[in-house]
């Protein structure tokens, strides 16, 4: 049996519903229909009264989740696309994210964001907006890059007592496969060395991990050994693992699919530059998407986001400095 990334998301939710009677799922079309991406397929039948269709009301969806969390439940909210979470933005960053700090009452909710670019997705079905959530205090922001992490991190997210923004990459949904579900996993907050190398460290996350891996393969043919750090969690950030890798390679390239101003790549470089300055023997570099909305046409889309080729080019430049 082989599972895709979306299967893992579904299995994790099934497992959470099975293990914990406090868990329920609320979102548009998640019930009988099983969700726009089939992440909740058959769950409404398997768990009657615990997988519920919501009206098209993102603000109220999050508000309801916070109230349910106050009452001790563990809601999983599915946004149909991450891009639409902007309509529920206020309830996420000002209601859910501030509850614990203000009242000492935890807010264990998971907001699932199907995010990231796919061919033909266009400006409003492709966005990577982990940055706007990671910037606010009070939220955990996760970006699994593998089938195994999609499963184990979602399960751990549901168990956490804090609001979690769970960024699932749509491009990986059916693209990635694994043989079986993991029995153990790295805990949330720890980054993973996706590939070991000595010449250059690429720090990245989510779908870009796979572009980086492809670039590394290409570069190894040229004799370069690239180390790849998969952040897994962008808030908190596992700075230690990043530093340790940079201390081995001396060179840092950060790759992200989101827009260039601010965000994960800026945060990583700022931390390494201020805390691990001496480790670097070349200027750290960044590769992000272009600073425009995500284009519809595949020609434009593949030029807008970093690809394996773009990563390889950036890495080569850095390796030659």
């Amino acid at each position: 049996m082989s599972l895709t990334y979306i299967d893992a998301i579904r299995e994790a939710q099934a497992q959470a519903l099975r293990d914990d009677p406090r868990v329920f799922i609320y979102g548009q079309d998640v019930g009988a229909f099983g969700g726009a991406f089939k992440a909740t397929k058959n769950l409404a039948k398997e768990f009657p009264g615990r997988v519920l269709d919501s009206p098209i009301s993102e603000d109220a969806m999050i508000g309801l989740a916070v109230g349910a969390a106050i009452e001790g439940l563990r809601p999983i909210i599915e946004m149909q696309f991450a891009d639409f979470s902007t309509v529920g933005f206020n309830q996420i960053v000002n209601q859910a994210a501030t509850l614990f700090w203000r009242t000492n009452v935890p807010c264990p909710i998971v907001v699932r964001l199907p995010f990231g670019g796919t061919s033909g997705g266009g400006p409003f079905h492709s966005q990577c907006i982990e940055t706007i959530y990671a910037h606010y205090p009070g939220l955990i922001v996760l970006t699994p890059a593998t089938v195994e992490d999609a499963y184990s991190m979602l399960l751990e997210a549901v168990a956490l007592d804090d609001p979690v923004i769970f960024c699932e990459h749509k491009f990986l949904y059916r693209h990635l496969k694994a043989e079986k579900l993991p029995s153990e996993a790295l805990p949330i907050g720890k980054a993973r060395i996706a590939r070991e190398g000595r010449d250059l460290t690429i720090v990245t996350y989510s779908a870009m991990v796979h572009e980086a891996l492809e670039a590394a393969t290409e570069l190894s043919a040229e004799g370069w050994e690239i180390e790849i750090v998969d952040l897994r969690s962008v808030k908190p950030l596992d700075t230690d693992t990043v530093m340790a890798s940079v201390s081995r390679t001396g060179k840092l390239l950060c790759v992200g699919e989101s827009w260039p101003w601010g965000g994960v790549t800026a945060e990583i470089i700022a931390r390494v530059a201020s805390e691990g300055y001496g480790l670097l023997d070349a200027p750290p570099q960044r590769l992000n998407a272009k600073d425009t909305p995500v284009p519809y046409h595949p020609n434009l889309w593949t030029a807008h986001r970093p690809t394996a080729r773009a990563v390889a080019t950036a890495a080569r430049k850095l390796l030659r400095t």
Partner: protein, 344 residues
């Protein structure tokens, strides 16, 4: 005691019983005196930030508080000192929050009207108008999910906040889920300086209920007996499974939006209309007319209240202010995931 009266009469008829009315009146008086104290402290520079009063809205607000059980859910807004106290908040916690005492429920982290105790069903508002209603829905949803029946959730909102998308999404959500939500709209004629004519175009805010398929009730917000009856009735209907209830009370804000605001924009015609009546005075006259109490008793009450408040303020002024060095500067409860940002 109030509760027993309420429980005995789900239909709410006896809400205007002597004891209930007197109890509600006392909360109104308590809130009025407390508000005045906050205003005085503010003028004396003893309160940082804004001070927001419920002057003129005590009858409506107190009616909500006395109509709810302690096991119910309450999401008050900025003009609900009376309702908060009637629901069980102590004067001490109110004062602590305004003065930022580290011993208050908000520990100096949040202040003034942004106070509550979520786990006691008393939800602390965030400032964003309309945002609390769906949170009440969530608590009610969870109670049902946990097979706990008989809970009612009351959310307060102003005429201005009915224009927010959050109000709409939440009321519709409650209607679709048939939750026991009682949404109390205090139509006090203004949103800050903005008159209702610039806020909505329907005849009466109660008309909005039709579009959500929920029941609505209108009431004269200056009349305590009417508020007790109508609000109690709405609460009883929600509790009995009648689904969301909207209560629209017409009244006038008898103070500035905040104490910084002289509210000179308020139309004199409104001030001189029945809407401009002070619900506290009206209730007092009513109680005396009914011979349910006498001026001596009321004077005693006022004395007790003033003393209670003065003592609370004195105590809070002796309480420790929050200590930034002792403070745990983390916004998450999962300590192992906390990122400590070292200062350079």
């Amino acid at each position: 005691m109030l509760q027993t009266v309420l429980d005995a009469n789900p239909a709410g008829e006896t809400l205007i019983a002597r004891d209930t009315t007197l109890a509600a009146y006392r909360f109104m008086l308590l809130a009025r005196v407390l508000d005045d104290k906050f205003a005085a402290l503010w003028r004396a520079g003893k309160i940082h930030g804004g001070v927001f009063l419920g002057r003129g809205q005590e009858a409506l607000s107190a009616s909500i508080g006395v109509s709810l059980k302690k096991t119910d859910v309450f999401a008050p807004l900025i003009r609900d000192a009376a309702g908060r106290l009637a629901f069980g908040e102590t004067v001490l916690d109110a004062v602590r929050t305004y003065m930022g005492s580290s011993l208050g429920p908000m520990r100096g982290r949040d202040g003034n009207v942004h106070r509550g105790k979520p786990q006691e069903g008393y939800l602390p508002m965030i400032s964003h108008l309309g945002a609390m209603i769906s949170v009440v829905n969530g608590v009610l949803f969870a109670r049902r999910f946990k097979k706990i029946s008989g809970t009612v959730g009351a959310a307060c909102i102003g005429d201005g906040a009915t224009s927010t998308g959050s109000f709409h999404e939440a009321l519709n959500q409650a209607a679709v889920e048939k939750l026991p939500l009682v949404l109390i709209v205090a139509d006090n004629q203004y949103a800050y300086s903005t008159p209702t004519s610039l806020q909505f175009a329907c005849e009466n805010l109660a008309d909005k209920a039709i579009g959500y398929g929920v029941e609505s009730h209108s009431v004269d917000g200056t009349d305590l007996s009417a508020c007790l009856k109508i609000v109690g009735n709405a609460v009883a209907k929600a509790r009995a499974g009648g689904g969301p209830q909207v209560v629209v009370a017409k009244l006038l804000r008898l103070c500035g939006h905040g104490e910084h605001d002289d509210s000179s924009y308020v139309d004199p015609k409104l001030k001189n209309s029945p809407l401009g009546n002070d619900c506290l005075k009206i209730a007092e006259e009513f109680l005396l007319r009914q011979k349910w109490t006498d001026t001596a008793t009321l004077a005693t009450w006022r004395g007790e209240i003033v003393r209670e408040i003065e003592e609370a303020v004195a105590q809070v002024q002796r309480e420790p202010a929050p200590d930034p060095f002792a403070e745990n500067w983390s916004a998450i409860s999962s300590e192992h995931l906390d990122e400590t940002h070292e200062e350079p």
